[in-house]
Amino acid sequence: MMSAEAKTRGDPPDSSELAPTALHREIEEFLYREAWILDNDKLEQWLDLFSENVRYWAPVRRSLPRGRESFHDAYLTPHFDDNKAGLSLRVARSRTGLAHAEEGTRQRRFVTNILILEVEGDFVRVSSNFQVFKSRQDEQWFVGTREDRIRRKPGGGWSIEERMIVLDHGVIGSITTYI
């Protein structure tokens, strides 16, 4: 585990304190599989990866002096901030075939820099970077990082309890929320 000092500083975990390789491999597989599910439009399967109490959200970015930007200001404007019902509504909308911004787009996700930040019982905090490519006639890239809190389910497998998506764009195009 991280030293309390390192945690406060916001440092990544010391290499001597790395979580066991098997756990890392499992989490990596889980995230890659999620990306594959989304790339292949299996939205209902994707919904099942999330806890019933999930918070799935992305704060807007602010250009402030270094170190001053916080994502936890009360009522901070988000790009999106959904619970499970919100995610389900988005999937239902996609399934109508009438989500004009999405219909006919090809999407590809790249998940990298997977780092286990903290392990506490059945809960794991994971950081991963992403790029999502979205194209129809135009091409759009979305870049950022995610901080996930995932829980090992009693019967095996993982459930995403919270995902904070930090997009790096100052001005953003027509985003997909399936990140």
Binding site: L64, H79, D81, D138, V171
Partner: protein
């Protein structure tokens, strides 16, 4: 259809613009040329004749409430700093050093007594005064008049109900006069309580590849797109939540003078979350002390509108946002959207409004995403060699507008396009005026 010249009945000659482009906005049949959205020459002229003359929204009073606070914003394509200096007055300066024009401030907001240019260190106070140049003695031999090299100030700054507007035109009419008939409709949202509306922290900055006017005209005068562009709402059974009110009095659009336009739609209160319904009752009680009887009846409806040229807002079933459309070329628009809440709303109401607005109209808004798709798609064709020669149809209920002694402006029940066309009519009048 070929370009044609028109001489009106008073015998006045066509304007220079009309001689060059033909009739771009034709009031005789409510049509608009696609060139309005795509022509680079018109875009450049628009920067001067529309953005250079009209009142432009730059920020909210609550964002620069603290002494020496500032926000950065845009007026058309020019970046500006909106700051409340030590005099307590809000002033607007171009965000550009007087030396070589370098962008002075790259932050979204903050508190600053001075702005120092990163290029050569020229330093300006937050009242625009040049207070330091590093080479004042060694290089300039003390021979430079600081008074002549202060920040370029935008001459007119005025507020309406907490909304700060600025204008490049020193001789422009007052903001209140410019808003004119629009004030009555803006008050339904922005003057119904003493605390007023205020923006939440952060601003959602998004972009779409199309001309800004497609967005501005829609929020000022298009309700009929809703069940088509957002047809997924129909499929998911969500559309009966609005509309269906008494036409003309609770489902109508308004064309105001100076290009402003508003849409009001009846709401089904059973679809409003209970916490918000309760708060709305409080709002209505307060509104009764501030608004006239006709206005009071229109407080709990959907409110959508555009203040010409590029400030819009939507209050829809609990969602509330304000927005500016920033032109970034003929076919690129940067949209700045602020989520809003009532100034004295309890935390659970603010949280709820943030939630609703984000879901519907945020950068990934389930309603918003479809709209920018349409605006981009219309822009895409507007520059085509053949397409640009053939006018766009804005004729829905052309000539059927009515006036009402209790409500300003020209009114038509939904659906209509009189306000969308009114937007372009005013645009054209400004463009023709040299």
């Amino acid at each position: 259809m070929s370009v044609r010249a028109r001489v009106d009945s008073a015998g006045e000659k066509p304007s220079q613009l009309e001689r060059e482009y033909g009739v771009l906005v034709d009031a005789s049949d409510s049509t608009v040329s696609p060139r309005v959205f795509s022509d680079p020459g018109l875009y450049k002229l628009e920067g001067e004749r529309v953005f250079g003359r009209c009142w432009l929204y730059v920020g909210h009073e609550t964002q620069v409430a603290a002494p020496n606070s500032f926000i950065t914003a845009y007026m058309g394509e020019e970046g500006v700093i909106v700051t409340r200096g030590r005099s307590g007055k809000v002033r607007v300066f171009l965000n550009s050093c007087r030396h070589r024009g370098m962008r002075l401030c790259r932050l979204d907001y903050g508190v600053a007594l001075k702005f120092q240019c990163p290029y050569h260190g020229w330093t300006f106070s937050n009242e625009g005064k040049l207070v330091a140049i590093p080479e004042f003695e060694s290089g300039y031999h003390k021979n430079i008049e600081a008074d002549k090299w202060g920040l370029i100030e935008v001459p007119r700054v005025e507020s309406y109900r907490g909304l700060i507007f600025a204008c490049y035109d020193e001789g422009a009419v007052s903001l209140a006069d410019y808003l004119g008939e629009a004030k009555w409709y803006l008050d339904l949202c922005f003057n119904r309580t003493a605390a007023g509306m205020k923006p939440l922290p952060g601003v959602a900055k998004t972009k779409w590849p199309g001309n800004w006017k497609f967005g501005a005209e829609q929020l000022g005068g298009d309700n009929s797109h809703a069940i088509w562009a957002h047809s997924f709402l129909v499929k998911l059974g969500m559309v009966q939540e609005f509309g269906g009110g008494d036409a003309w009095t609770r489902d109508f659009q308004v064309k105001c003078t100076n290009g402003h336009g508003f849409i009001l739609l009846n709401e089904d209160p059973t679809h409003i979350p209970p916490a918000l319904q309760k708060f709305r009752e409080q709002i209505k009680r307060e509104a009764a002390t501030r608004l006239d009887p006709t206005q009071q009846d229109l407080v709990d409806v959907v409110h959508v509108g555009t203040v010409f040229p590029n400030f819009s807002f939507i209050e829809f079933m609990g969602s509330m946002f304000i927005r500016t459309w920033h032109p970034r070329g003929t076919d690129n628009t940067e949209m700045w959207t602020w989520l809003m809440t009532e100034g004295d709303a309890p935390p659970e109401v603010t949280a709820l409004q943030r939630d609703l607005t984000t879901r519907n109209f945020g950068p990934a808004g389930i309603v918003e995403s479809d709209d920018s798709e349409m605006w981009s798609g219309c822009s895409e064709t507007s520059g085509g060699f053949l397409r640009k020669q053939i006018p766009l149809n804005y004729s829905m209920s052309h000539s059927y507008g009515k006036t009402d002694p209790h409500r300003p402006g020209l009114i038509h029940r939904t659906p209509t396009e009189i306000a969308a066309f009114g937007f372009h009519e005013f645009w054209y009048s400004l463009m023709q005026r040299e």
